[in-house]
């Protein structure tokens, strides 16, 4: 049994237009009477609620069926109804606490959602973004059996996003890898190991903050000369990438070294006591941008690392977030492939429960809010196609939805929030113009290397 695709409902986007129900009734009953819809949207005051089959993992409708007419399909996870076995006893409707299997008078038997064989009509009909067909399960099915290349007992903080990034990325990149982890949380939590043992199942080394990309260049070239194909990968923090590590990184990118450099951006030096880095955003509290009588957090905007890297005209540059794993994996695949041809740079945002001051169970939600407010933007770039948005920048949530989730912004004055809002707007406008090919610099970058 694997993981399965699923139809997800976001009530906050639903306005009760009933298009999903009409589409379902049309697909399943051949008429538009919503009583025949197997997805039922219910108005509840100003909100909308949902009754439909959850395709449960341990389905009670199946356990309650005396006629073996219901069964969970191991291949796609849907619960299938066999009309030739059903005896119309309705005991399945007693078992289901979700209103997901219901007697339909017109059909003369129970009906339930069958996910339209993987192309649900309701989701296609929803243009409000309230229904989504989540195929994230594919990731688990594809990589679930791949070997985790880190030891089980890494000492990351509770709810650490970076640990997720490390494990997910290396699992996919695979064991034919030499890994560089410059000073930061990644080696700090034990990936370089203790007492002569590494914390990885691949060769790992611990360069200085300054020379990660150049050491990796040498390692990669050495293997190339030997005729061995290995992935040369850096898992570096934003400090190691954007501050003192930037010189060697920029050099390797400019030379087109065949390296995959992953910047795990937690917006500061979180491992050594939460000092600011050049990736720390405006207004954020860190231990070196304190909040007090005079200090109000960082007074400069963050360096836009992924854009800087894009302007190196690398083989591949992308931003990603663990709240959007399908997107992250797709970009990882492209980055691995690009690193065989030239320099690939992946910038992954990694909310830090300890340094950003928020509860550990909210990590993915914080990562999601960052994207949904356009505080960070998901896109990728290659020299042929230029920059493409991975998700639209329109209909962003108000910035408060993100800022209010984080303790490091608790002190913000309205004018600071306004500044952040302005920065987000400016960044979004810039990225949008690049995506639309309107920016002159971009046009130049797209036509070839900048002389």
């Amino acid at each position: 049994m694997g993981a399965y695709n699923t139809i997800a409902f976001k009530p906050e986007h639903c306005d009760g237009c009933n298009a999903c129900m009409t589409a379902c009734a049309t697909a399943k009953a051949g008429n538009s009477d919503i009583i025949n819809s197997r997805i039922q949207i219910v108005a509840d005051g100003d909100n909308f609620e949902l009754a439909m089959c959850r395709q449960c993992g341990d389905p009670k409708c199946v356990s309650n069926c005396p006629a073996a007419a219901l069964a969970k399909d191991d291949a796609d996870g849907t619960i299938d109804w066999d009309g030739s076995k059903c005896v119309n006893c309705l005991l399945c409707t007693v078992g289901c606490a979700f209103g997901g299997i219901v007697y339909n008078a017109a059909a003369g038997h129970v009906v339930k959602c069958d996910s339209c064989g993987g192309a649900p009509a309701c989701v296609k009909a929803c243009d409000r973004g309230a229904l989504k067909y989540l195929t994230t399960a594919n990731i688990y099915n594809e990589v679930g059996d791949l070997e985790d290349l880190f030891v089980p007992g890494l000492a990351g903080c509770q709810g650490c996003n970076t640990e997720l990034i490390m494990r997910h990325t290396m699992r996919r990149i695979g064991p034919d890898t030499v890994l560089a982890t410059p000073p930061g949380c990644i080696p700090g939590m034990g990936s370089v190991g203790y007492n002569g043992l590494t914390g990885t199942k691949v060769p790992v080394f611990h360069p200085l903050l300054t020379n990660t990309a150049s050491m990796l260049t040498g390692v990669k070239r050495h293997y190339k000369r030997q005729g061995r194909e290995v992935n040369a990968v850096a898992l570096a923090g934003d400090g190691g990438a954007s501050d003192v590590g930037f010189q060697s990184l920029s050099g390797a990118a400019e030379r087109g070294e065949q390296i995959l450099f992953i910047c795990v951006d937690n917006e500061g030096y979180m491992n050594t006591g939460m000092q600011r880095s050049s990736c720390t955003p405006f207004g954020a509290w860190t231990s070196t941008t304190p909040v007090g009588e005079r200090g109000h957090g960082k007074t400069q905007d963050a360096k836009n690392m992924p854009l800087l890297m894009m302007m190196h005209n690398c083989e591949y540059v992308a931003t990603a977030s663990t709240a959007f794993m399908e997107d992250l994996y797709a970009k990882l695949d492209k980055a691995i492939a690009a690193s065989k041809r030239g320099f690939a740079y992946l910038h992954i945002y990694s909310p830090c429960t300890t340094g950003w001051r928020f509860p550990s169970h909210e990590n993915i939600e914080v990562a999601r809010k960052a994207v949904e407010t356009n505080f960070v933007m998901l896109w990728d770039f290659n020299p042929r196609d230029g920059l493409r948005l991975s998700r639209p920048l329109d209909d962003a949530l108000p910035i408060d939805a993100y800022l209010e989730a984080l303790g490091k912004y608790r002190h913000l004055e309205p004018e600071q929030v306004a500044h952040i809002e302005g920065t987000v707007e400016k960044n979004a406008g810039f990225i949008r113009s690049l995506a639309e090919g309107r920016h002159p610099a971009m046009a130049q970058a797209m036509t070839g290397r900048i002389a």
Partner: protein, 413 residues
């Protein structure tokens, strides 16, 4: 002697549900399933449809041999457990074989009650509890012109409908003044009774059979009201009782069924019981009572299995809620909860529709409908969670299905 970690006696819903729960937690412990039927696992609930011919006997199996193999379960069929030595942790089978177990689940279900009617033992009659019973009844259908069904419970009513559809003249004799008295009140029962009468089925309600005797190839049934019915087929459907006779001397406490606590444990260490055989806490009064319905068997089996395997996620039995669904002549009757554990806040009935809602302190205690749509599983959960309906009381009473769905979606979605 065969040794097994888990011995499960019975092979219907409670047993299979327990087995699944055990395998969720314990992938390796040896499991043996013993059933007195010489058949693959099936549900007694499907049997009326085997009688009618809608379900082919070879297509009603809930699990097949491959499933047992896949789950590494030893499946012994056609062997009843005849005695249990709880101290030595051994069960003796009708085959003479003995099995040593570490943990024992009794899911032996129930068997038909034969009322003490003079002459009954001397005439040919049918019961309907096993697949063999159902196949026998199905075979008897074509030759049946006159049929008498004793009992207007779910089994009797299903059988009466099928016998009538097969062309027989059917009479149902019931001691209670109405049909399906366990699940519906007089008005609801009246709708069901009318549907049966319209199909030419005679219902002798409030009547008791005083004598049975052979009459030609058939049976003559005499009621205490003086009616005399000659029939080719007599079906006794006067209810069922838990199968516990094999527990004599075992030390397992039995009242009407095997007494169990909220994790389905019997009075004896290492022995659990679930399903129709178990006498567990009732939801409304907390008293231990029989509630022999399929959904309870599934729930209890799961709890027993989890408890037996030491699954830390096991939740205590919330208490039995009487509930059932009943389809008759294409109409749907649904009964969830107690008729009298509260005040009736809505009741309406016409010839084809019926709806009754019972609440106590703004909490749902029962909802009953005929040809009125609502989701019984959602209602059951609302009852079990004792959800305070005061903020939506009027809406719930006016539109129970829609309101309950909204409550579900925002409460346990």
């Amino acid at each position: 002697m065969q040794q097994t970690e888990y011995l499960i006696v019975g092979a219907s819903h409670a047993a299979l549900s327990a087995l699944q729960a055990i395998r969720m937690q314990d992938a390796d412990g040896s499991v043996t399933l013993v059933t007195r039927d010489d058949a693959l696992p099936y549900s007694p609930t499907v049997l009326p449809y085997v009688v009618s011919g809608r379900s082919a006997p070879e297509r009603v199996a809930l699990k097949d041999g491959a499933w047992f193999e896949q789950n590494r379960v030893g499946f012994i069929r056609g062997a009843a457990v005849t005695s249990v030595d709880a101290a030595a942790k051994r069960a003796k089978l009708s085959s003479g074989e003995e099995i040593a177990y570490a943990k024992l689940l009794l899911a032996t279900g129930a068997a038909p009650i034969l009322p003490p009617i003079p002459g009954l033992q001397d005439v040919n009659f049918h019961v309907l509890r096993t697949l063999a019973d159902a196949i026998g009844l199905h075979r008897a259908l074509p030759q049946t012109k006159q049929a008498v069904v004793l009992g207007a419970g779910l089994v009797g009513m299903h059988a009466a409908e099928n016998l009538a559809k097969a062309g027989a003249q059917v009479t149902v004799v019931e001691m209670q003044p109405r049909v399906l008295a366990g699940y519906f009140d007089a008005e609801a029962s009246a709708i069901i009774e009318a549907a049966f009468a319209a199909k030419g089925i005679k219902l002798l309600l409030g009547a008791k059979v005083s004598r049975c005797e052979a009459a030609g190839k058939g049976v003559r049934v005499t009621t205490d009201g003086g009616a005399s019915l000659d029939t080719d087929l007599l079906l006794v459907a006067a209810g069922v009782a838990p199968v516990t006779d094999f527990l004599a001397g075992s030390g397992v406490a039995v009242d009407r069924g095997i007494l169990v606590d909220d994790s389905m444990r019997s009075s004896v260490d290492g022995i659990w019981a679930a399903g129709d055989v178990a006498q567990a806490k009732g939801f409304y009064d907390g008293a231990k009572s029989l509630n022999g319905i399929l959904p309870s068997a599934v729930e209890q089996g799961k709890i027993a299995g989890m408890a037996m395997a030491g699954d830390p996620a096991v939740k205590p039995w919330p208490g039995g809620v009487p509930l059932n669904t009943y389809t008759f002549f294409g109409q749907q009757a649904v009964s969830v909860g107690s008729q009298d554990a509260g005040e009736v806040v809505r009741k309406e009935a016409d010839a084809k529709h019926y709806l009754k809602i019972v609440m106590q302190d703004n909490r749902l205690t029962g909802i009953f409908g005929i040809n009125v749509p609502f989701d019984p599983g959602v209602m059951w959960e609302i009852i079990l969670r004792r959800i305070d309906l005061s903020p939506v009381r009027e809406a719930f009473i006016a539109e129970p299905q829609k309101t309950a769905r909204a409550i579900m979606s925002r409460t346990w979605r």
